[in-house]
Each structure stands twice: as C-alpha cells, then as structure tokens.
Symmetry: C2
Subunit: 216 residues, 2 copies
DNA sequence: TGTACATCAGTGAACGCGCGTTCACTGATGTAC
DNA sequence: TGTACATCAGTGAACGCGCGTTCACTGATGTAC
C-alpha cells in the first residue's frame, strides 16, 4: 500500500530530479501514525522531514491543505484496491462480508499510514479536506453497492435500497475502524466479530425489507 | 441545552465571584461552530473571549485539554437528556426510531454547539479527549440498548445481540450527523429518511437473526 | 464595632518558540545557435 | 563541439505573529481577635 503514482512533474522536457511531490507526501506519511493526524502537521515539519528548506515546499504545493488532499486521494485509491482484491477472492456473499471486514482490520493493524489518514481525518481539518475524505468514501460506497447488487440479484427480491446498505456499511466500518486504532490489538478478534455481525444485520434487514416490498 | 452544573469552586467559604469554570466553558462554546472544532481553540483565544488575562485560565483548568474534556461531558449529558426525552414521547418502536432520528437532526440544525463538539471531536485531539468522547457514546449506547430490549421483549425472540444493535446505530447516527453538519439544510429531509431506513435495517436484521436462532 | 492579617483570584509584562510566508539569490540543467 | 543564454528548483535569512507558560504583583474579601 505504499506504491506511488508516476511523477507528473515534468513539463517541457526533463530537468534535474530534485524533490518531488511524492517525496513530500512520503515525508508526511512518515510523520503520521496512529496518534498523529495530518491536520496537526506543519509545513516546516514536513519540509524538515523531506530534507528541504521550508520555502521549497511551495514549489510542489500551494499549502499544507493541498498536500493533505493529495494524501487522501492516494489513501482512497490504495484502500479500494486492497479491499477490492479481498472481495474478488471470496465470491460468496457471506464470505465477502467476513473477508472484507477482516482485510480492513488487518490493514488498520498493519500500521497502514494511508489508511490512518482516511480514518482520522473524517471530521477534522479544512473544508477541502473533509470533502476529499467524503469523496473517497463515496467511491467506496459505489463499489460496495454494485458488488452487493451483483451478489444478491439471484435471490429474487434482492436488497432494499442497496445504496443505503452500502452507505451504512461504509460509514459504520470507518467509524469502528477509527476507534479500533486506539485499542490494543488483543481486541481485534472481538472487533472483527462485532463488525461482521453488524454488517450482517444491515444486509439481513435490507433483504427482509425487499421481500416485504415484493410481497405486497 | 445550555444549562450548567452548579459551580463547585468554593473551597472554604465563599470569596468574590470572579470568573468560573462555567464562564470559560461558555466562552469556548461561543467560539465553536459548525466549522470550528474544540481542538483548534487556543488557550489565549478562550481567555480573550471570556474577558480575562491568559494566565488567569490556569486558575480553572490545567490546560485546554482539561477544558475540552469538561466540554464533552457537558455535551454528552445534554444530548442524552434531549434524545431520552424524545424517546419517552414516542413509545412505539417504529415511532422511536423516527422521532429519535428526527430529534437528533433537529439538534444538529439548531446549531447546538454542544452537539457539534461531540460530533466533531471523535477522531481529533488528544487521547484524553477521544476517550471522553468514546465514554459519552457508550452511555448513549447503554440507554439505547435498554430501550431496545424493553420495546422488543414482547415480540417473542426479541433482538439478536441488542448491545451490537445499539452500538451500530449510535456509531452510524453520529457518523452521519457529522457529515450532515457540512450539508445545506435542504437535505435534512433526505438525511432523516436515509438514517431512519438504515436504523430500520439494523433492527430488522437483528430481529430476523434472533428468530433464526430461536427456531433451531 | 474596629483592626490586623491571611488568602487567593486575577493581573501585566515578559520569555522563548515554532510557525507561515517573503525576498533576492544561486547554480545546475537544458536549449539555441 | 563550444558558447551564450534562459529556466527554475532549491536556498538562507529575515519578518511579524500568536502561542503557552512563568513570574512577582495587587487588591478585594473573609477571618480572628
């Protein structure tokens, strides 16, 4: 979960390598941990970590806000790739819930800095910031929704409001994941158990509601 | 939602009134809004708002962290009182979901500073901070759980894992509420609709799971 | 009632610090001819 | 190949600012006698 998109810094031809946007993003990630959020990073701190003068920062980003948004894009893409892969591994519906939740918690525990960014910054920071996080959550919801529709289409009625099912699951998982970061790893098992049950409740409820709707 | 606990500042007998803890809490609340979180307040800022010298702050709180925790306690107590009242007004189960959710959203819209505190600070701030928020959520879950148990005990099987039902609902409502703060009020109706459906899904799922459990 | 004293909430000035941002600069690199 | 020039990523120094925290203080209030 640490690969970076190819640099797009070259304009005309090529100049010397120097510091890149990715170097700064990497530096910021190094400073972030379970107990440190992006919005508490200072421009000077990131520059220091990247080994450049504070003012050189401006060659790459307008300000810390712009860096933070870039970081969130990165984090979102990465997480969707990981969970998407987990989903395709388990193609039955029950398996999907379980393995997606497990993969998610594994990532939280793997000290995945990118994931920490997504989980921590939901409510803090600037507007641009919050919008970026929200956009990533929406992508996530869309993929989950289409998976859910695909997997339940065989069962006759399918699910009631699959969009809301996906939204509820996404928001719940992220909220639980955020608190999980502060818990000792011993409680992971319990958390996975809880989350899986919660998700199962939502899906089961949506299925019931779809059936009732069909019947009348 | 702005009443304050009686001051407990008097030690021996009584001295002059002066500034109280509550005055500082009130000043902090005045500075907080939908787009301003407690963790971005500075000690000097609060002191300024309260009309005292910066160093006078220390007579009441060790630091801003201590003030923030006090603020969260206040917010939690207030919210529980409000939603609790809404619950007792509607004693049927379907009505409870609806009216609790509606009351909650009304409070979000009422620019309730105390509620903003609870919604915003879930992931930001110090450890003491996050623990305080988590504690308030737990209280909330407990009350919700006992209400759910009471109201569904008549239906034979009741609910599967009412503790998880309460937890899922609480986390979901708070997560949705936090994003609601940034949305225009025109979308309140839609949000209430969504939230109510989500909560209904969880409860319906838990009921189905309880029935299956009983039957085997 | 009057007086001397203790208490302590609130003060004003000062500190050192890290911050974001600016400025004019330098010097390596690529380009034109 | 050689030379003059343009570009521009990165620099070092400096700025003013708001911050948290400290210090010795003051003066109103309550208490003891």
């Amino acid at each position: 979960m640490t690969d970076a998109p190819p640099p797009d810094t070259e304009v005309g031809h090529a100049r010397k390598a120097g510091i890149s946007r990715d170097d700064l993003l990497a530096a910021a990630l190094r400073l972030i941990g379970p107990h440190r959020s992006v919005s508490t990073l200072s421009l000077r701190e990131v520059a220091r970590e990247a080994g450049i003068a504070p003012n050189s920062f401006y060659r790459q980003f307008r300000d810390m806000d712009e860096l933070a948004v870039a970081l969130i894009d990165l984090a979102g893409r990465s997480l969707r790739r990981i969970v998407g892969a987990a989903r395709h591994r388990a193609e039955t519906q029950r398996g999907i819930v379980r393995s997606s939740v497990e993969t998610f918690m594994e990532q939280v525990r793997a000290d995945d800095k990118l994931l920490h960014v997504l989980l921590r910054e939901g409510t803090a920071g600037s507007d641009a910031f919050k919008q970026a996080v929200d956009r990533e959550l929406s992508f996530f919801e869309d993929e989950l929704r289409s998976d859910l529709v695909r997997l339940t289409s065989a069962e006759g009625a399918g699910l009631h409001r699959p969009d809301l099912v996906a939204k509820a699951i996404t928001r719940l998982v992220f909220a639980m994941g955020a608190t999980a970061m502060d818990l000792p790893p011993e409680r992971d098992r319990e958390l996975i158990e809880q989350l899986s049950t919660m998700v199962a409740m939502i899906i089961s409820g949506a299925r019931t509601m779809a059936q009732k709707r069909t019947r009348r």
